[in-house]
Symmetry: C2
Subunit: 181 residues, 2 copies
């Protein structure tokens, strides 16, 4: 049985546009106490769009947190009350312009459960049709198509450095391989 930390006090530090920060005082065994810094996030979806030629549709954008432009699978925050599958359709269209005949749920995961509750819902999109992207006001995104085989090399070479994208690419590879077997 794993010890569950009871909240003794919860202090709101910051409430923002995307994230909130709170500082919880929790009880540990033997009546000891410690503090947990927690970043609250509304949750997000990530989509692996696979073309008929086994290319993935990816986005390259500048990420201020790491001061770097990186290649990622399309993704975006859940709006309040939004269903993850609807969010996946919306974000794929907004970020890349693509629509999909089929959007299939893969699984969900926490990006960094040590300090944040951000949950990422992963989808695979197939039967793609190209359209016009509709990025948000503060998004400047380049759309790139890359062969799955190249992406696997790019993960090993350290050219793909985003956790959701690594997971999405590795799962796309597993899904395609299992269909070919």
């Amino acid at each position: 049985m794993i010890y569950e930390e009871k909240t003794m006090k919860s202090e709101k530090i910051y409430e923002g546009k995307i994230i909130n920060l709170k500082l919880d005082t929790v009880e540990l065994p033997d009546q000891k106490y410690t503090k947990r810094e927690i970043v609250e996030h509304p949750g997000a979806v990530a989509i692996v769009p696979i073309t008929a030629d086994n290319e993935l549709v990816l986005v390259k954008q500048f990420r201020k947190a790491i001061e770097e432009a990186i290649i990622e699978i399309p993704a975006g925050k859940l709006e309040h009350g939004e269903d993850p599958a609807s969010c996946a359709v919306r974000e794929l269209k907004e970020e890349t312009g693509f629509t999909a005949e089929k959007i299939q749920y893969v699984f969900q995961f926490y990006t960094s459960p040590g300090f944040s509750n951000e949950k990422m819902h992963l989808f695979v999109a197939t039967g793609l049709a190209e359209g016009t992207a509709e990025p948000e006001n503060d998004e400047y995104i380049e759309i790139i198509k890359i062969k799955l085989d190249n992406l696997l090399n790019m993960i090993n070479n350290g050219e793909i450095t985003d956790s959701k994208s690594i997971i999405g690419i590795l799962m796309a590879n597993n899904i395609i391989n299992s269909k070919q077997e």
Copy 2:
């Protein structure tokens, strides 16, 4: 060419034990401005310890941010100035008690580059020898060994929900398969 966001102003919101929060005002094209909420993290290592029987040594612990006890690969924060490979040796020993003949670097990734600079350095540990764990004061950890094949099922079933652990397990599988080919 991807647009790079120039910092016009940077406000420190919180400086904590593990994370800091800052609010940057950045310049977008056409002289527009927006704010970016950024969680600074010292970086971390994660280790995939593989036994001679292709079992992985995992840890189960309560994560306050998600109010849940989850199974993860061993991991821990970098101490100030600490080399990631040394940190991997230290965290493997502290969390699981295991020492390894070989600790091999795999790659590094960002857990959530949309709002945090947390960088995770991934290692595979082999040639394992069991010892006594030395958890930190506020860590209550259960050690579990699970067969790699079962772990792949647990990812698909949603029983493994931590991004670094999903990446570590999928890479361990690729490494083992490539050795067997």
